[in-house]
Amino acid sequence: MLVARRLGKRYGEKRVLRGIDLELSRGGFLVITGANGSGKTTLLRICAGLAQPTEGRIERDAERAQVGYLAHEPLVYRELSALENLELYGRLYRVPERRERIGMLLERYGLWDVRRDRVADYSRGMTQRLALCRTLLHDPALLVLDEPFTALDESGAALLDAQLAELRGERTLMVSTHDPGRVASLATARLELAA
């Protein structure tokens, strides 16, 4: 469960978020929309535990280990391979049966054949697929996805659609997107941020 009351965030003089109230029960699916610069990423960073609000409060029942965060950047090392990146994260997240889980995700997201290639040689879409594998690796209870469909081709987006449908109800999901229609059928709540 995630509850935020009167949430606000300032960077110096600049106010990025103001008076956000939200309540998301376990298994809920929140879609966040808003124009560029409306504070979607900041809100998601706060919900993931990467940033602290300057006003209001937030309560989350998921611990750090149970949060899966997909950012604009893939959060992977470009000079390492997909396998090496996921091995590192798997170790740090204490993923049980790490090898099997990594293999399963790489297969599912179509990266198995290029698992030993450097991420620097991947296309933007392949890197986004790897970022999704990283986010899902430790089977998190709370998934915070910042524009997850960015750079994915049709097959990648279809894979993500299927994954989200699978996780819906079992995991708590927060997804920011510029295409709310894509996840409208899955959403249990919607938040629109004003610029």
Binding site: A65, A71, P74, E84, R91
Partner: protein
């Protein structure tokens, strides 16, 4: 044991990154050897023991600074630090893993640099080499900590030397003393104390550097 495995995995990752990208070590090697060559031709022949020791420490310190400035570049480029910070491992493991990797690069540069120094200037005593080894630990502990602080700022190239160089003054005093004093024991003891004190402070407070 889990902590040690985390540190090992993080340090190994940095070594692997350097092996692939070759960004840091060649630059450090080139810098330190060029510095000695420049000093060799610009100083009078047979400089005093104190002067020679002083230039060794100037070269070591700035070579280390070069490596420290690049230490968190891979984490900054893809914001990987966010991913590491979210992991449930103890955050100090990030600092320790990075410090060990930076220490490995610095030692590798010194394996070449110290014989070059001995060739151009004067042979190094056992105490001086021990002083360099002890100073390396302090340099990497403090420098990695400050590198993590600087990486989140806009003027990171400026912030790191501004913070690091004043904190490195005791290392220079201990290092020069261990190489030039008649009884280097107390200077070596001073370096051990510096290493212990700053390693504990950095280890305990790294959490607050990477958490917003």
């Amino acid at each position: 044991m889990t902590y040690a495995r985390d540190v090992g995995a993080l340090a190994r990752k940095d070594l692997l990154l350097e092996l692939r990208a070759r960004d840091t070590l060649p630059a450090m090697l080139l810098f330190v050897v060029s510095t000695f060559v420049v000093f060799h031709f610009s100083l009078p022949a047979h400089p005093s023991r104190l002067a020679a020791s002083g230039l060794l420490w100037v070269a070591i310190l700035f070579t280390a600074l070069l490596g420290l400035g690049r230490a968190f570049v891979p984490e900054r480029e893809q914001r990987v630090l966010d991913g590491l910070v979210l992991a449930p491992c103890d955050r100090s493991a990030i600092w320790l893993g990075k410090s060990i990797a930076t220490l490995a690069f610095l030692v590798a540069a010194e394996v070449v640099a110290l014989p070059v120094y001995a060739l151009f200037f004067r042979p190094l005593s056992g105490a001086a080499v021990l002083g360099v080894a002890l100073a390396d630990v302090g340099i990497c502990a403090v420098g990695t900590f400050l590198g993590a602080m600087a990486v989140t700022t806009r003027a990171r190239e400026l912030i790191l030397p501004l913070l690091f160089l004043p904190l490195a003054i005791p290392i220079v005093i201990g290092g020069v003393g261990s190489g030039a004093a008649d009884s280097p024991g107390r200077y070596l003891g001073f370096l051990v104390l510096y290493d212990l004190l700053f390693a504990v402070v950095c280890w305990a407070s790294f959490e607050y550097v990477v958490a917003e």
